[in-house]
């Protein structure tokens, strides 16, 4: 039987296939170029997995469009395509363009019920369901090619996704068709439900009322019939004269089906994936646990207008020039160009919290500086954060995942606006003392990075003290994460400072509590705090390489503040950090330290030059102490890497200068040369491999061979190994020293 089918297929005219082909390519093109229509297109284009899925989905659509005759469910090709559709549907939802194909296939009766059911069950919209696909499927329904069960399933599906259908004009034109389905007893409840959703005043006709009353007489008072009748009565009380019970528990049964949960999951996932261009969804009901109290649920409200039509307003309307119908409803705001065109007549949604999930409104908020807008958002966010905080409120711990998602959304909004919310800051200050350092860790630490910059004394007691306590008592990885977020905090502050300086030059306005010196002090305080916790942490974790890496990352920002951010502040790392890296075993960190010292030098030299030339009248000068500190470090570093006299020349009070007598007592042979670029523990392995390469015949390793010209070649070898920091350091600081015979301090 299967063979005859397949031969039939091949006999079919070929042009069919051609039209399909063009159809598909059109779909593809449309899908790629029209970013507003489908969520799928917001995925990053370079995502390989997504591309594969996209391809197999297209292939499946093509297959379903081309297939002409009944194929058994066991057919492996059919199986493959079905699975492809199902997996995409469950993960990301189907693009609007797919519904036509799939509905046609499912309702045309080409396949058996098992296949049709599976197809219908996988119809989960990613964004919208196009109206024409629904219209064409109703025409299939009218010719009743499919079984009663499939028809029923289709109706249930239609009720579930009703709000996702993009337009409803044409669908409403089919009202009469739907109405005629009422006679099917099995379908009647669902048809009633659908009609209930579809009915407008003009659909209420005397003959329809009669038909419904007839049905009621035949079937008894069914809640679904009564629901429809009560709606008819609401629209046209003169047509429905019977009395209907005032109270009815539930008119319609929930059209059970697999879609509701899947739609919610898909929606949530798509929202997560699309940071910037999230489409607005209809309806906002999120799956919420029933047990919780009404006001203790994290639900970000939908952006909607809540225009109260006051009775007196209605009367006034004719004379009111600034009538409200001029404003552009936020629900309709879908694209950036719409935002630009309507920016003058846009209103904020009735609940400010909804801007969190609406990037367009965030743009709008950014250019619309209004105190009440910020205040509304502030109150909502602060209350939600405090109420839902899983470690501050008893019994909240079961909702950690929800809370995490909320924190994540807020953080993303902060990144989008490039600005921290003061509600988040206060939340941190209130909740950090009670935090275990574990719950929602990454979210909380990210919050830290967006604490707004302002000169205040609060930050020490409210942030640094509780954070330090957690820092010292937690794992290495926690320490690294804290350092990472403090680095981001510093960077955000510096960026904020730069933009502040820019805007200040434009306008003379600046409030008294945000003077430059106050802000510089706040930044300096942060750097000193990091210096302090780094010092203690290195002791606790015995100079762990990983930890050092994060500390140096922080100082990579610190060393460049003067040049990159125009901030008159440079702070050297504490000696504990400096010496741990300088004398450590790790070449990556040593290299980074070299780079940092090079940047300090560049910054300090520029500052000195500016100071000397007096081109700029400097409000602040670096203290001599900073220069001295730098010079001490530099001496130690040059002695350690280049001149092999670190023990003699190191003048830092916490350095490693030692008497020759004492060094001799250690009985280390040739102690003098134990620290230079050849014998430094972090670089010795390089020297070893260099020797192997340069003197392949030598069986014994003799580091003393590296000197003179060999030293320079070895240096080139080191540079080739990627030690760029070492390169810039030696080129800027050492060469000159060796040439100008140790007059280094004078230069800086």
């Amino acid at each position: 039987m299967e063979q005859s089918q397949s031969s039939k297929t091949s006999k079919r005219p070929l042009q069919f296939r051609d039209t399909n082909q063009t159809d598909m390519s059109a779909w593809r093109k449309k899908g790629r170029t029209d970013p507003e229509n489908s969520v799928l297109d917001h995925q990053p284009p370079n995502d390989q997995k997504d591309d594969n899925e996209q391809d197999s989905l297209e292939e499946a659509f093509r297959y379903f469009e081309e297939v002409q005759d009944r194929v058994s469910l066991k057919n492996s090709i059919l199986q493959k395509h079905l699975t492809a559709v199902e997996s995409v549907a469950l993960q990301r939802g189907l693009p609007p363009e797919g519904f036509n194909v799939l509905l046609d296939v499912a309702l045309s009766g080409k396949f058996g019920d098992a296949v049709n059911t599976r197809i219908l069950r996988s119809l989960i919209p990613a964004s919208v369901v196009p109206e024409d696909s629904v219209v064409s499927s109703v025409s299939w329904l009218c010719v009743s090619k499919c079984s009663g069960n499939v028809q029923l399933l289709f109706l249930k599906w239609l009720i579930t996704v009703f709000d996702f259908i993009d337009h409803k004009e044409q669908l409403n034109a089919l009202y009469g068709f739907f109405f005629s389905f009422l006679q099917e007893e099995k379908m009647c409840p669902f048809v009633c439900h659908l009609l209930y959703l579809l009915t407008r005043k003009e659909n209420v006709k005397p003959f329809r009322v009669r038909r419904l009353l007839d049905l009621q007489a035949k079937m008894g008072t069914q809640p679904y019939l009564q629901a429809l009748l009560s709606l008819y009565k609401l629209f046209c009380p003169e047509l429905v004269t019977i009395t209907l019970p005032r109270k009815m528990k539930a008119y319609f049964r929930d059209p059970e089906g697999p879609w509701k949960a899947a739609i919610n999951t898909v929606r949530q996932r798509n929202q997560e994936n699309t940071q910037v261009a999230r489409p607005l969804f209809l309806g906002t009901a999120q799956p919420q646990s029933q047990k919780r109290k009404w006001n203790t649920q994290i639900s970000i409200p939908a952006s909607s207008r809540n225009k109260i039509n006051f009775e007196e307003d209605r009367e006034k309307k004719c004379i009111d020039l600034h009538s409200t119908n001029e404003s552009f409803p936020v629900e309709q705001l879908q694209t950036f160009s719409q935002l630009l065109q309507n920016i003058h007549r846009l209103e904020f949604p009735s609940q400010m919290g909804s801007v969190l999930t609406n990037p367009l409104l965030l743009h709008y908020m950014n250019c619309f500086k209004d105190e009440s807008v910020n205040l509304r958002l502030y109150y909502w966010m602060e209350q939600t954060l405090q109420q839902e905080c899983t470690w501050c409120v008893v019994d909240n711990s079961q909702y950690e995942e929800e809370f995490k998602n909320f924190l994540e959304t807020v953080y993303e909004t902060e990144c989008f606006l490039q600005e921290g919310f003061s509600s988040c800051e206060e939340f941190l200050y209130k909740s950090l003392p009670l935090w275990d350092g574990f719950c929602c860790r990454s979210q909380i630490l990210r919050f830290v990075s967006w604490i707004p910059l302002r000169s205040s004394s609060e930050i020490k007691s409210h942030l640094y003290n509780p954070l330090a306590q957690l820092f010292f008592t937690s794992s290495l990885y926690f320490k690294c994460s804290v350092l990472e977020s403090l680095k981001e905090l510093l960077q955000n502050w510096l960026n904020c400072q730069v933009t502040r300086l820019d805007s200040e030059s434009d306008s003379e306005v600046h409030s008294s509590n945000t003077t430059l010196s106050g802000l510089v002090n706040t930044i300096a305080e942060l750097i000193h705090f990091v210096g302090w916790i780094s010092t203690v942490a290195l002791r606790l974790e015995s100079n762990h390489t990983f930890l050092l890496h994060f500390i140096l990352d922080f100082y990579e920002t610190v060393c460049d503040m003067y040049l990159r951010y125009d901030l008159p502040l440079l702070i050297m790392p504490p000696p504990r950090v400096f010496y741990a890296v300088l004398l450590g075993m790790d070449s990556v960190n040593l290299n980074q330290l070299c780079y940092i010292m090079h940047r300090y030098r560049t910054n300090l030299v520029t500052a000195k030059e500016n100071e000397l030339s007096k081109k700029k009248i400097l409000q602040f000068k670096f203290s001599n102490q900073t220069y001295q500190e730098y010079n001490k470090y530099l001496t130690a570093m040059v002695g350690c890497l280049w001149t092999s006299n670190v023990f003699q020349k190191d003048i830092h009070p916490q350095g490693i200068a030692m008497d020759d007598e004492l060094l001799k007592k250690t009985e280390v042979p040739d102690f003098k040369n134990s620290f230079n670029i050849v014998c430094h523990p972090a670089l010795m392995s390089y020297a070893f491999f260099y020797l192997q390469q340069a003197f392949p015949d030598n069986t014994t390793v003799d580091f003393s061979l590296i000197k003179g010209k060999e030293w320079n070649r070895y240096l080139e070898y080191l540079y080739l190994q990627g030690l760029d920091g070492l390169k810039v350091f030696i080129e800027s600081s050492v060469k000159r020293i060796s040439q100008a015979s140790h007059s280094k301090s004078g230069n800086v």
Partner: protein
């Protein structure tokens, strides 16, 4: 965000003994329960001034608030709320309640409905002219037997109020209305519907206002000091013992005269109460209890305070007993509500 930008305020004053505190003990408290001094809810001066006629009138208008259990909520400032539109609010809220009850079925705004909603003003309930008048929301049902002319039965009531809430209202832009305290009597399902409508319409947030043992001990001391005309019941404190497999409550009742006598020996300046005095008062009660029962009440948690003036439960439930002290109690509660939303 600027007005809120000054960050959380001073740490909460140390009380010298373990305090359980609100979930966020470091909450902003400027004038609140600072160790310095504060006025009791009803200073003697105003008590004398209040004329007999005025008291009687007040009593009538606010009598329905007495002897009912009210659940407390804090509410952030209402955005674009206007007292001029209370009738419209009733109409819209009625439709909203009906729609919620019918679970998404169509309702007509302004039509005849099972549940009637009224939103009215309670102008007497405020501390000063700067306060917004209290707003009362009531849900009443018509009995279905005789729909016309039958008496409506109030099934749920809730009221927003602000007594001496200058601390919050003075910094707010004009579009906001400061009514930080919300009190509810009735089914939670109705609270949910009304609360949701207010949240959606005025962009505000509701949050349960629980009373910490620290605040309860303040209430115990303050209310003991109040003079009441009628022969009043004893002052009762209920403690719960933590970390037991079965809940254990200790009830501690003190004769009103005894409690007042004790308080009279403690209070230094009439009309003024300090944190220290509250602590001494509670410590005296504790040591008396220990002498008889060998139980340290300071190691338990104060969960309920019941006096002739009012009774308060730590879950945020309050019952007013004396109409002349109504605004006084509300003043303290307003302060706590503001504390929670700032």
């Amino acid at each position: 965000m600027e007005s809120a930008a000054d960050g959380p305020a001073q740490p909460r004053p140390s009380t010298g003994r373990p305090s359980w505190g609100l979930p966020f003990g470091r909450a902003r408290r400027r004038s609140a329960l600072s160790p310095s001094s504060r006025l009791p809810p009803a200073p003697r001066r105003t008590q004398v001034k209040a004329g007999a006629a005025e008291v009687a009138e007040d009593t009538q208008r606010t009598a329905f608030l007495l002897r009912k259990q009210w659940t407390l909520y804090s509410v952030t400032p209402l955005y674009r709320f206007s007292e001029a539109h209370l009738r419209d609010y009733s109409r819209l809220l009625s439709a909203f309640v009906a729609a919620e009850k019918k679970k998404g079925l169509a309702v007509e705004i302004g039509g005849e409905l099972d549940i009637k909603v009224s939103v009215t003003s309670l102008p007497d309930l405020k501390g000063s002219d700067r306060d917004q008048a209290a707003i009362l929301v009531q849900l009443s049902s018509r009995s279905s037997a005789s729909p016309k002319n039958s008496e409506e039965k109030v099934i749920w009531s809730g009221w927003f109020c602000c007594v001496a809430g200058d601390e919050l209202s003075e910094n707010l832009p004009e579009a906001f209305t400061c009514l930080p305290l919300f009190l509810v009597n009735g089914a939670e399902s109705n609270t949910a519907i009304v609360g949701t409508w207010f949240q959606k319409t005025f962009d505000c947030c509701f949050r349960r206002l629980s009373l910490s043992p620290f605040n309860l001990s303040w209430m115990a001391a303050m209310w003991t000091g109040c003079k009441v005309d009628k022969p009043a019941s004893a002052t009762e404190l209920v403690f719960s013992v933590p970390r037991l497999p079965h809940p254990l409550h200790i009830s501690y009742a003190i004769n009103l005269e005894d409690a007042q006598a004790l308080w009279a020996t403690i209070q230094k300046t009439p009309g003024e109460i300090t944190q220290e005095e509250v602590d001494v008062f509670m410590d005296c009660l504790y040591s008396h209890f220990y002498r008889h029962f060998k139980i340290h009440l300071s190691a338990t948690k104060l969960v309920k305070v019941s006096t002739a003036v009012a009774s308060a439960h730590c879950d945020g439930i309050i019952k007013f007993r004396q109409s002349q002290y109504l605004t006084g109690v509300l003043m303290l509660l307003t302060e706590l509500a503001i504390c929670q939303i700032q």
